[in-house]
């Protein structure tokens, strides 16, 4: 049913696009013949990254005779999402829009299929990250192509000095910046050994901190922890699976881990772990390199002791929270063909390298070969190699809260913070496992309404 609707829609949209092409054809006169293209994209928080993206897009526009405008929209206060809701309801606004993570699914009915673009990219540059497939390839249709900026992951960010001194762990030898890893050491880096380290570091007043609140960061790190225990609130076929041994096991683990975390983590926002680490109070957080970048500016003594590395391993494997960013094209856009052309251009190796450099390595290209062949993360410092393990280098599997539920439900599991709330009910609210699981089941039923 869904499929049939989809293909019919696609057909109609195809006709619509044709109509537009025919209608605008007679106006081909000047160098600005290829029409207008308005882009709405995520406002990068690395200074200067927006400028590079603007340059790249304007170069493309200049050589293709497109009249291009680009707006940078912050994700603070969910403005990026709010604007997407506004534009999709008003059926006006930008042509190309940035849709990170769950947004291709949320707006799948309004996003033009871009299968041709993504297939061209894959055949030219190789495979995309598996996360891209999960979030943007919906019911067999690509609703977004890799965005030129924004895709990030949530490695552990730890203080080398504190781990060495108080936990007896040398993180640089487990996760070196390049060269072969020692598999035994890596394998020993599990959630159990992490718990032991967290205990020791808490004892000296330098705890591990991560938000247990329904913010993106809270969802991200808990998503990877749940996945490592095989704990799913909903499985891939859309069945509610909250009441499981795996969920109990992960709640059990978190009851112990939270003893060694600050009490305030239940109110943390996405910046709290940054401030926590930058102030020197914390030993580990799960975050992209912004902690390192800001402390390099404000607290260099802290920055020099930071190291990004892999997540701990759980009984069901090693998972890294990731947020892939896509650019989609609204189906009400009047210049879909130009949009598609731009998306293809932005996947070129030279373009991607410029953009990655512009973001100071914050962005990890979704096209796997593009980051593997880029030395930027290896060379960053001090400390030298601090960012090497920021892109996934080992056996980690990208994930987030809500995976592997069907994306229309996963998006809501994430937005309503089911995982952080479930955990907080137990570890902060003192609910029994059964009560908390009962609450989550009730919420999940709510999420599944038609």
């Amino acid at each position: 049913m869904q499929q049939r609707n989809g293909s019919r829609r696609k057909f109609l949209q195809g006709m619509g696009a044709l109509g537009v092409v025919v209608a605008t054809a007679p106006y081909v006169k000047t160098s600005h013949s290829a029409g207008k293209l308005a882009i709405g994209t995520w406002d990068h928080w690395v200074p200067g990254a927006n400028d590079v993206l603007r340059e790249v897009c304007e170069e493309w526009a200049g050589s293709n005779g497109v009249d291009l405008t680009i707006d940078f929209i912050t994700s603070i206060g969910n403005k990026l999402l709010l604007t997407a809701q506004a534009e999709s309801r008003a059926e006006t606004g930008h042509d190309v829009y940035c849709v990170p993570q769950w947004m291709p699914s949320m707006f799948r009915h309004r996003l033009e299929p871009v299968d041709d673009v993504v297939n061209d990219i894959i055949s030219a540059h190789g495979a995309l990250s598996p996360a891209a497939e999960f979030f943007a390839h919906l019911d067999g249709v690509w609703r977004g192509a890799p965005a030129p900026a924004g895709s990030l992951s949530y490695p552990s960010v730890s203080r080398l000095d504190l781990y060495r001194e108080h936990a007896g762990i040398d993180l640089t030898s487990i996760f070196p910046a390049g060269g072969a890893r020692n598999h035994e050491l890596v394998d020993a880096w599990s959630y159990d050994s992490f718990l032991t380290a967290a205990h020791k570091l808490h004892a000296v007043g330098k705890p591990f901190g991560a938000p247990i609140a329904p913010t993106p960061d809270g969802n991200q790190w808990l998503g990877s922890l749940f996945a490592a225990y095989g704990a799913e609130v909903m499985d891939a076929s859309g069945d509610i699976t909250v009441d499981s041994d795996e969920i109990r096991e992960v709640l059990e683990y978190l009851s112990r881990l939270t003893q060694y975390m600050p009490d305030s983590v239940y109110a943390w926002d996405d910046a709290s772990n940054n401030r926590f680490m930058i102030s020197g109070s914390g030993s580990t957080a799960f975050n992209p390199p912004s902690i390192w970048a800001v402390s390099s500016r404000d607290m260099p003594a802290v920055a020099e002791q930071l190291w990004h590395h892999d997540s701990p391993r759980g009984p069901k494997g090693r998972y890294r929270a990731s947020a892939p960013f896509f650019w989609g094209i609204w189906d009400f856009s009047s210049n879909i063909s130009a949009g598609k052309d731009l998306l293809r251009y932005l996947a070129r190796k030279d373009v991607v390298d410029r953009l990655v450099a512009g973001s100071k390595g914050f962005d990890i290209p979704l096209i796997t070969s593009h980051y593997q062949s880029n030395d930027l993360w290896k060379n960053a410092g001090p400390p030298s190699g601090v960012l090497y393990n920021y892109p996934i280098r080992g056996d980690e599997v990208p994930t987030t809260a809500g995976v592997p539920a069907p994306p229309e439900y996963g998006a809501q599991i994430f937005a309503q913070g089911i995982l952080p709330n479930l955990v907080a009910r137990v570890t902060q609210g003192g609910d029994t496992f059964d009560d908390a699981i009962g609450w989550a089941e009730n919420e999940m039923e709510g999420i599944m309404r038609g």
Binding site: D43, W45, G77, L82, A90, R275, N287, D298, M299
Partner: protein, 300 residues
């Protein structure tokens, strides 16, 4: 406003016993000042802390070992300078002024006309309208902004500050009409009868008689409309995303907070500068505003 010693005030006098009138007054005064000091500390503590933060270096803000309430490592105005030179703050400021100007203008024209008609030209349905206007005040903007997307989009005003000029009057007009009705109602009927006999039409009467007499109310309503259009948050959050169309409240929050890296110094500097115009306006026109706000209510 004459003799302020007139009553010792119920609250103040509660503290002193009926020993002597003088010691009564003394204790009432002491108690009053004590209350005032406590309240002023409570009311001014956040703005004070914002000011302190805005004058600190980033390194001192990030440093946990210092006393957060004072500036220890030297005062700096770098946050103000970078706010004015490196961000679009001045553009936001300009947009906000334009929006506020037109909203005030539109609001005053609509409210004065409507208030005149409703308070003087009683006609069929005028009572219903008067109460209806009041009911509008009950509909929160958080309910309206989603349905308004379609209207805004249809008019092609999404991401233009003119959309704010269009929708802010829904927040200002009901209350301003209300204030003006109160003021017009206090003008004696003999005045307009006299004017009518002199052959003045309604427009002339409104302009020559009512507006001059109700000037304090007009000023109060103007300040109210100005404040609302300066402070409103949800509508610009929902409808504006470009830097060149943004207004101060949302703009200060969005350009200064970059992802999860918070520029607290700049943020506080921006918040203070953005709050300055209404604060300055109040400093000069506070009495009119208070008179306008309270006139209607005290009469009832």
């Amino acid at each position: 406003m004459t003799n302020r010693t007139r009553n010792t005030g119920a609250l103040g006098a509660l503290i002193g016993n009926n020993t002597s009138l003088n010691s009564d007054r003394k204790w009432a005064l002491i108690a009053s000042y004590a209350c005032l000091i406590v309240f002023v500390i409570f009311f001014l503590c956040p703005p004070f802390y914002m000011l302190i933060t805005s004058l600190k270096t980033n390194a001192e803000i990030a440093d946990l070992s210092t006393n957060p309430w004072i500036i220890e490592q030297g005062l700096t105005i770098e946050h103000y300078i970078s706010l004015l030179t490196e961000t679009a703050f001045l553009t936001y400021f300009k947009n906000t002024v334009i929006v506020a100007f037109f909203v005030v203008l539109i609001t005053m024209v609509i409210s004065v006309l409507a208030a005149y008609a409703l308070s003087r030209l009683g006609f069929w349905g005028s009572g219903v309208i008067a109460t209806g206007v009041f009911l509008v005040y009950l509909v929160p903007d958080s309910l309206l902004f989603i349905p308004l997307f379609k209207i805004v989009g249809g008019l092609g005003l999404l991401n233009s500050y003119w959309v704010l000029v269009l929708v802010y009057p829904t927040l200002t007009v009901p209350f301003c009409t209300w204030i003006m009705i109160g003021y017009f109602a206090s003008i004696p009927k003999e005045l307009d009868e006299a004017a009518l006999i002199d052959g003045a039409n309604h427009m002339q009467m409104l302009l020559r008689v009512f507006i001059p007499v109700a000037l304090p109310g007009l000023i109060a309503a103007t300040i109210f409309a100005f404040t609302v259009s300066w402070a409103s948050f949800l509508y610009p959050l929902a409808y504006i995303y470009s830097d060149n169309q943004m207004v101060l409240t949302v703009g200060t929050v969005t350009t200064l907070i970059k992802g999860d890296v918070f520029h607290w110094g700049g943020l506080m500097a921006g918040a203070l500068l953005a709050a300055a115009p209404p604060v300055i306006l109040y400093a000069f026109l506070m009495d009119y505003y208070i008179a306008g706000l309270t006139s209607g209510a005290t009469k009832g």
